[in-house]
């Protein structure tokens, strides 16, 4: 009992829907679409698709669409036709469709032959057909035509305009009756172009052979794709596989007359538009379904649409866009990286720009720094040289001594030998000895001058491999005269192992010079016997070290930190530059200069340099 109301409701719903169905059934328009060679064939598949879509879109009524394909169109064999006619009669004999849309020329021919038997009064729209393929004389008052015009010459000329150096055009067109018809039409229409281009036909070739031929076309060739329904070997080609394969192997650009072939393989140009054609046909269909008489509707045949070109193909075949006819549309332009990644690019480039700016700035700074470093080194060199001059001033007495000593000996020896020679019977052995002495003394004097000159000459900071021990003994030699004059004893303890360092020998020598002169100054108030400087070199791991110890009063602890500061001096005549310059030089050599007081008395200066 509980079920009863539910059953009632269900019944009510079913009844309601049935009445609704009946009501709509009364308004249904029955449409028959007759295709020429099956829905999978290009270009008709595009037309079929658009046709269905346009019908559905434009129709105010529900449509009951039946579609049939005239498979027999692939061959000239008339045998399959009668059963197909019977079949259609069986289906539609009782109830004629409200409208028949005939797609393509083979279907148009077929239906014109059998119209009287099958659909005597059903209105018909012939579409997707070239006007030449409709027998106008046989049209009835129930027929209307929405045709197109193939203007092959215009098509070819359009192509020749964008690829002017084309010399050969290979035409792809099969061997079915429809294709044979068009070959004849093309031959006729293209005749005027014969002096410009050579045309190659493949209608008697198997498709495989055709592919081989078109893979090796001479330079400046092009391929015109008309259609390939049945090849020269009698093999039918469905779908768009034939065109795809041709595209994959061919060595020339392909153009075509219909945009159903457009979108991947063909370059483009003026083309029939499947969509526009279907729209026009569907519009006519709607007028007929709306009650207009088909025979009264006259639609002028449509020509090629405005030219469109596939950007990718233009790129591939290097066809300049400037050669395209005015008003051309370019499709499939691959978005540039800029269009796709605008923000990313903007971000990345701004980061890069910023970075570059930063790098430039840093480089600039670095350049400035380097310049400043060079300048400061130059200044240091100059100051060091001035300092050397002032040291040299202090050394004047000892240098004069060093030079005059050998000079004095030379003069006396020369005079002696002169006298001996004058005397008539010189002791040749002694003369030889004296001359040897003169030469030795001359060398000595020259050496002193050489050393002095190298100490004072203006040279840029120059890094050389030198032995620290040698440098120290050289400096001590230079100072020996001064040490005698100042009555200071110089004690040296040089390491037996060599101390290879990298540096400017003159500047390093100056450091030691300054430190020793400083030590002498520190002891000027000491009794002569106590004036002693101990110079020691040692090798400590990877460091060469020289220490200079005096026996003076040492450095007051408060001053230990300041002694290396410029203009700090405790001497009455001092400039306060000696130690400062010494430290600057040592640091420029990546070394260290330190001062300390010895446990007994006196100061100790230590120079350490990295070993080379």
């Amino acid at each position: 009992m509980v079920m009863r109301p539910l059953v009632k409701v269900c019944l009510a719903v079913v009844v309601y829907f049935l009445t609704l169905a009946n009501a709509t059934a009364a308004e249904h328009k029955r449409v028959l679409i007759l295709h020429s060679v099956g829905r999978e064939f290009r270009p008709w598949n595009e037309y079929a698709k658009h046709m269905r879509a346009e019908l559905d879109r434009q129709s105010p009524w529900p449509l009951d669409v039946q579609e049939h394909s005239l498979v027999a169109a692939r061959s000239a064999d008339p045998n399959p036709e009668p059963p197909f006619v019977d079949y259609l009669r069986a289906l539609y004999g009782e109830q004629q469709p409200d409208l028949i849309i005939v797609v393509g020329a083979p279907a148009a021919n077929f239906i014109q032959r059998h119209r009287k038997d099958l659909f005597a009064t059903a209105p018909m729209v012939f579409t997707t057909v070239e006007q030449r393929r409709v027998r106008m004389s046989e049209l009835t008052e129930y027929d209307t035509v929405v045709a197109v015009i193939h203007d092959f010459r215009f098509l070819f000329e359009s192509f020749l305009r964008i690829v002017p150096d084309t010399k050969t055009v290979a035409i792809i067109n099969g061997d079915s009756p429809n294709e044979r018809f068009w070959q004849g039409e093309m031959r006729r229409e293209l005749k005027p172009l014969e002096d410009r281009i050579e045309i190659i036909w493949y209608d008697k070739f198997s498709y495989e052979d055709l592919l081989k031929q078109t893979a090796a076309l001479p330079p400046h060739s092009a391929i015109f794709w008309y259609q390939m329904i049945v090849d020269g070997a009698g093999v039918a080609h469905e779908g768009d596989r034939a065109l795809t394969r041709l595209y994959q192997t061919a060595n020339a650009p392909i153009f075509s007359h219909d945009d159903a072939f457009y979108g991947r393989e063909t370059v483009g140009g003026p083309m029939h538009s499947a969509l526009a054609g279907s729209k026009r046909a569907a519009a006519v269909a709607m007028r007929i379904l709306g009650g207009e008489k088909a025979g009264d509707i006259k639609t002028p045949p449509s020509n090629f649409g405005p030219p469109r070109y596939d950007w990718r193909q233009l790129q591939r075949w290097r066809i300049s866009e400037r050669l395209l006819p005015p008003g051309s549309q370019i499709d499939f332009r691959e978005p540039t990286a800029w269009e796709v990644y605008r923000w990313q690019i903007l971000l990345v480039s701004s980061v890069l720009l910023f970075q570059a700016l930063l790098i430039t700035l840093l480089l600039h700074e670095r350049g400035r720094r380097q310049h400043a470093e060079v300048q400061s080194r130059q200044r240091m060199s100059e100051l060091a040289r001035v300092n050397r001059f002032s040291t040299a001033g202090e050394l004047t007495a000892s240098i004069a001594h060093e030079i005059n000593q050998p000079l004095g000996a030379i003069r006396v020896n020369a005079e002696t030998v002169e006298l001996m020679v004058k005397s008539g019977a010189p002791d040749i052995h002694e003369v030889r000895e004296i001359v040897a002495d003169i030469r030795r003394d001359e060398e000595r004097a020259s050496n002193v001058i050489l050393r002095l000159r190298s100490l004072l000459k203006k040279v840029p900071f120059e890094v050389r491999d030198t032995d620290f021990n040698e440098l120290v003994s050289e400096t001590i030699y230079l100072l020996s005269g001064l040490a005698i004059g100042r009555q200071v004893e110089l004690r040296t303890a040089l390491s037996i192992v060599p101390l290879p360092v990298k540096g400017d020998p003159i500047q390093l020598q100056q450091v030691i010079l300054n430190l020793i002169v400083n030590a002498m100054d520190a002891m000027s108030n000491l009794p002569v016997a106590e004036r002693r400087i101990t110079i020691r070199t040692v090798r400590d791991n990877d460091v060469a070290e020289v220490s200079i110890a005096d026996r003076g009063p040492g450095i007051p602890p408060d001053n230990l930190k300041q002694v290396f500061e410029p203009l700090f001096t405790t001497k009455t005549g001092g400039m306060g530059m000696g130690l400062s310059i010494a430290r600057t030089i040592v640091e420029a050599h990546r070394g260290q200069l330190s001062a300390e007081n010895q446990p007994g008395s006196g100061a100790l200066f230590r120079v350490s340099l990295p070993l080379a």
Partner: protein
């Protein structure tokens, strides 16, 4: 005039060159490499000789050696020879009695002249010194009484005064004076005064005598 030249120079090369030249000129040469060396082997002052001394020598310098020698009573003339002369050192050494101050490199003639002069002076000094020694020896032969008379005579005392001072007679004093003149080998009072002066006798006891010389 031959003589001995003592060369003090730490520079063997220069030392040898000078030695050669001086030997060629006829001098005897003794070389020393340092001041210390010379102090250890003090030169003989009795032969005519001089010292050729470098200013700058290690440890004890030339001027210091000069001072040491002075303290030791050496009278050897010193010729300084320096490769570099500052005014201060030059003045100091000359004031301290240096014979000459030469600059290296030195002209041989100049050097030889200086050496010659120095040796001549050395010779003069030596002669003077030996004369003095002879007079001292004569003085030593005087008896104490004669010495007393001598000292009073050279101070210009009259015989009568001397006799009164020494508690003797005028005649005895006269005899002593005679003896003194003989022993000191003088013929006049002036000569006697000169000797007393040279031997420093006048200076010695002038303070002990308040009597004015009239």
């Amino acid at each position: 005039l031959p003589g001995v030249v003592h060369i003090v120079d730490d520079d063997i090369s220069f030392r040898t060159a000078i030695q050669r030249r001086l030997q060629l000129a006829g001098y005897d040469v003794i070389t020393y490499s340092s001041a210390q060396d010379l102090l250890e082997r003090l030169p003989d002052e009795e032969t005519p000789s001089c010292i050729l001394l470098d200013v700058r020598i290690p440890k004890l310098s030339g001027p210091e050696l000069q001072r040491h020698l002075g303290e030791l009573g050496s009278t050897l003339p010193i010729v300084f020879l320096s490769a570099y002369a500052d005014v201060q050192t030059t003045v100091q050494t000359i004031k301290a009695g240096a014979e000459d101050f030469l600059i290296k490199p030195v002209n041989s003639d100049l050097l030889l002249k200086a050496i010659e002069d120095a040796i001549a002076r050395s010779e003069g000094l030596r002669k003077h010194r030996s004369a003095l020694d002879a007079q001292r020896a004569q003085l030593a032969t005087l008896t104490p009484r004669e010495r007393q008379v001598f000292e009073l005579v050279v101070r210009g005392k009259l015989n009568k005064q001397i006799a009164h001072e020494l508690g003797s007679t005028e005649r005895t004093i006269k005899a002593h004076r005679q003896k003194v003149s003989e022993k000191m080998k003088v013929k006049s009072l002036a000569q006697l005064v000169s000797i007393a002066e040279r031997l420093g006798i006048l200076a010695q006891s002038s303070e002990s005598d308040p009597t004015p010389i009239v």
